[in-house]
Symmetry: C2
Subunit: 331 residues, 2 copies
DNA sequence: CTAAAAGCCTTAAACGTTTAAGTCAATCGA
DNA sequence: TCGATTGACTTAAACGTTTAAGGCTTTTAG
């Protein structure tokens, strides 16, 4: 009874029958293989078109073993980091003829696992994975299918991530060049490698050139802890470096409530260049993460692996660049 | 040569062979059908586990005709409207056992078409579609597979959208209740039904109670046209109603550049309650669109159609609600 | 005690493709 | 003229499942 109202699609055999040739012949012309006379080719194509034939990929896949699909697992689409990534992965995959299954793990590593398992049952030929945590929750699927992890180098995987350390350095250079010598830092959770690297890159470059007056940790979130809010009353620093743009936007907001003007009274810099960064008031000076390139490269690398490209796991790292807007002024 | 380094997965026949039973028996126990002795059940399950068997959905699908997958087509993941929707669709689909293929049409109706075609070739059992334009670009796939369109009622489709008209009214009520009597409006492109409805809902309620001093059109975008920017110099209106939150954020920004304070000098209201709305300064008073519910309902309805539920096309409309934050003050 | 029913398992066909191998006729080269 | 090659097409098996039909063996009912 299910689907009863929807038409069942014509098959390759239907074409064969109508055109009076064998199924094999139809398959050959539709795939441009074998040798078939121009006459028959034309006939087959015509009947295919006439009856509205469309290939059945799943039948095709049973025979060839190729589903031409990949899976994308990411932690939370609501985080503005991921839509761009997903878009790029899908677009690059599509260009290579692959469709992409989407799985939002909601930050749950158990869901990540189940998702990967489900994907593999569905025959995906590879997975692009943006891990929710530092935990290698997909290790058991590793042998079944190539996996490219993005945003985080993970041992035993192909990995593509932004060069956070250099990005931190880039930001430090600019902060120094603009004359700032007293700096407050609100870093992301240092248990996350991505948070640690951007911090270290920044700090290492600052070292000896200026003073880091204080450094506190906060979630990668707009909500600031009480400890952080207290630090915001410090009038000695001329700039506050934030672990990411969320924190920076939260800081600008909190500063605004405290009656301190950005960047007049104190400058603020972020990290990532999420879409909102351009539209805060003032617009955020930040380090741009190449979201789109990240996704494109991940999908492209994955496809290469699928096509059999060997070699050791790559750990590709993409350059970041400084985006200067209004939230930091000369000091 | 491709995939040579990845293990080929054990099949149901492998289990059968090892356990010394027929493939049919294995299938029966794995699917909980037929009648199989407890003994054999145990044996089969054990061997399945031992050799790390995982069902091959594509083989299964050739036989059953059910791929347990649906497609999701949307115009632009970068638009903050869609990530939440996608998340909800995926989540609800997953709960029903369905996986979802993602396709970002980039606003191109040709891509929409190709995407749908590709999906159908891949055997999706249904499609959730968020049209990029008012154009019914998927009409030809309509007969193949159930399609639920979201955000826009479209004739001959099941449709789920927010009740924009009522939402507009809700906003008008609040604006009036707060004492505003002179209103400027920056509406979205009136060729879009969603833009038109929210405008009409607002205007119809205002009518007779207050003055709409001016009304201009702008894209649903943060970038404002010159005409719009000129209007912003009008000191007569006490509130500016915007077609969506993007426009509202752009307006707050432009007003800020003009030296006018929001909401002290003039109030601003948006529409949609995109995630950024809460974090602008001041935070936006707006009408919340039930993104998550929209996605959930769409997926659930689609699944019901897939399972064979008949009946005429539904045109479900979801209530919106007012979210009061700081961008509008009493007048 | 026997016929019918129930329980447990197998056989084999089917789903819509692809593709290796084979057939047959026409063409070619010497 | 004849064997070999080429060209055009077909046959049939295979991919990994599901499932209707059937065949034993054991249990049940009368």
């Amino acid at each position: 009874m299910a689907k009863s109202t929807y038409r069942s699609r014509p098959t390759l055999r239907d074409i064969a029958h109508i055109a009076g040739v064998s199924a094999a012949t139809v398959s050959y012309v539709l795939n441009g293989k074998g040798s078939v006379s121009a006459e028959v080719q034309k006939l087959v194509r015509k009947t295919a078109k006439d009856i509205g034939y469309r290939a059945n990929y799943v039948a095709k896949a049973t025979r060839t073993g190729q589903t031409l699909s990949i899976g994308l697992i990411l932690p939370d689409l609501k985080n503005p980091f991921f839509p761009q990534l997903a878009q790029a992965v899908q677009s690059a995959a599509r260009a290579a003829g692959y469709a992409v299954f989407l799985m939002d793990s909601q930050g749950d590593i158990e869901v990540e696992r189940e998702g990967a398992e489900d994907f593999i049952s569905r025959g995906v030929e590879g997975i692009v994975w943006c891990p929710a945590t530092e935990h290698d929750s997909l290790s058991e699927y590793h042998a079944d299918v190539p996996i490219v992890v993005v945003d985080r180098p993970l041992p035993n995987y192909d990995a593509i991530s932004s060069d956070y350390y250099s990005g931190g350095g880039l930001l430090a250079d600019y902060v120094l060049a603009q004359g700032h010598r007293h700096i407050g830092m609100i870093v992301g959770p240092q248990s996350l490698s991505s948070a640690k690297q951007r911090r270290d890159g920044f700090v290492d470059r600052i070292k000896g050139c200026a003073e880091i007056d204080w450094e506190v940790e906060n979630d990668f979130s707009i909500e600031l802890s009480d400890e952080v809010r207290r630090q915001l009353n410090d009038f000695d620093v001329s700039v506050i470096g934030c672990g990411n743009d969320f924190i920076a936007i939260g800081v600008i907001r909190a500063l605004h409530e405290l009656g301190r003007r950005v960047p007049k009274d104190v400058s603020v810099v972020g990290f990532d260049d999420i879409p909102w960064a351009a539209f805060s008031i003032p617009a955020l000076t930040t380090i741009r993460q190449p979201f789109t390139k990240l996704g494109n490269e991940a999908a492209t690398l994955l496809v290469r692996r699928i096509l059999g490209e060997g070699g050791p796991h790559v750990n590709m790292t993409l350059g970041m660049r400084l985006v200067t807007r209004g939230s930091l002024s000369r000091h």
